[in-house]
Amino acid sequence: MSVIVEVRNLRFSVGGVDILKDVSFDVEEGEFVGIIGPNGAGKSTLVKILVGEIKKYTGHVRVLGRVGYLPQVQTSRRDFPMKVREFAAMGAYAKGRKISWDKVKETLEKVGLSNKSEHLIRELSPGEFQRLSLARAILAEPDVLILDEPEAGVDEMGRARFFELLDDLKKRIPHLTVLMVSHDIGMVFQSCTTVMCLNRTLHCHGPTSEIKIEDLKKIFVDFDLWIKGNRHYEIFHRK
């Protein structure tokens, strides 16, 4: 397997304050990386650097191949009169100025929006819109799929479907690499092959099975409080 994302000594600061510091890692082709960390940890900042939105960093960052991206903050104008399927096709259109509507239909089905493809985007709920944005990212047929909290606002069943969809996608396209920021730690530990714990710097990074509770305690102050009443306790209990 070859390295598809390479980050060395990455540092990003605003007004003299380091938001990211000493971040180095490799992601190999086909990995499914879960990036976790508390609010304000710099996860979205890292993502923005990877997709090229932030350029004023120091260090070395290289992402090979096409990137599909689902940003945390939606920048679209929901009041613009555009059909759901047209919106989804944006990434596909960017590839070669033409759109395969069959593929669009298929992908919308996968995210559970097939019955809404002729609706206007303003007629979707925020959760439905999130699913649509995932469809758009997938339709760009990326080598690296970068998702910043794709599950935000999506109901629990929908989340299960998201992760199922990602698993399915990974099965069909084994070389697809996924980097996903998520606050759904249970899901991350279930689906991802690799976990990165980020809080201004990389606190731990490795195969999911090798991440220890102590690692998580280091980045999440309220970890004990969280684990007490959590449905995913078993996942950690096993270790």
């Binding site: 090229g52 104008r77 613009f80 009169p81 059909k83 944006m90």
Partner: protein, 265 residues
């Protein structure tokens, strides 16, 4: 009744009627862009910028159409150059509007062979529209339509999600500059009909109406065009019928028809 006969009889009336319709249609086509880019101010801005152009034209004795067009383009390019993440297009427009207007006023105050009718330009006079204007409008209209058809997806994606369109490397910079250029071209032609002060009505209202009812890009343009067409014809007729100034009549009609639409916004 007499209106149709008079149209047939008087060439000047016919030319202003046809020219006015073309301008109304043109304004309607760019109106959705103005509304969705939240550049409601741009009509005003460009119109005021042409004031500087007019002053310059009279001072130097050049053709005012050409000079005001060049000023409008200079204005659009300055807006594009000044606006960025933390300077919205509206802020850029507001700042440049004052600058161009100030420039115009200084130029107009220079005591030279200036005898032009400033009021005519501030409020427009559709009856001064001539054949050259009609041809120019038709030319701009064709130009805009070709651009719209050729780049319709880029334009749609630019309007719906500029950031992601940029991420996907769609030609956003190109579309952005062209939209600004078109708006300036269109404003220069509208100014002749309704004048600097009333330009905004023709440029903002149809887009707002279209926003309320459209279910796609084509219908967005269609609703906008139909609205401006109807309000123009109605306003023009009322002006003829009651011997009132046409520009303000058109604005009155457009505004009155807009009020009930507010319910849908």
């Amino acid at each position: 009744m007499g209106f149709v006969q008079d149209l047939a009889r008087f060439e000047f009336l016919r030319i202003s009627f046809v020219g006015g319709i073309l301008v109304a249609v043109l304004a309607a086509i760019v109106s959705p862009f103005v509304v969705f880019r939240r550049m409601e101010f741009i009509g005003d801005g460009t119109a005021h910028a042409t004031f500087a152009g007019l002053a310059l034209a009279f001072l130097l004795g050049f053709d005012h159409r050409v000079v005001s067009l060049l000023t409008a383009i200079a204005f659009a390019l300055s807006v594009s150059a000044l606006s960025r993440r933390r300077v919205s297009e509206n802020s850029a427009i507001g700042i440049l509007l004052s600058f161009f207007m100030a420039l115009g006023m200084i130029l107009f105050s220079l005591p030279k062979r200036y005898k032009a009718n400033v009021i005519g330009f501030l409020f427009g006079d559709i009856l001064l529209v001539n054949k050259t204007d009609v041809w120019m409008t038709l030319f701009v209209l064709t130009f805009v339509l070709v651009f719209l058809i050729a780049f319709r997806w880029e334009i749609k994606y630019f309007l719906v999600d500029e950031e992601m369109a940029k991420f996907f490397k769609l030609k956003t910079g190109f579309v952005k500059v062209f939209i600004l250029l078109f708006i300036s071209l269109v404003v220069v032609t509208i100014v002749k009909v309704v004048g600097i002060v009333l330009t905004s009505a023709m440029l903002i209202i149809p887009g707002m109406v279209a926003k309320a009812f459209a279910r796609g890009f084509s219908s967005l343009l269609l609703v906008s065009v139909v609205y401006n067409f109807v309000t123009f014809v109605l306003g023009f007729y009322l002006a003829y019928r009651f011997d009132l100034p046409p520009g303000p009549c058109i604005v009155m009609v457009s505004f009155s028809l807009f009020l009930p639409v507010l319910k849908f916004l």
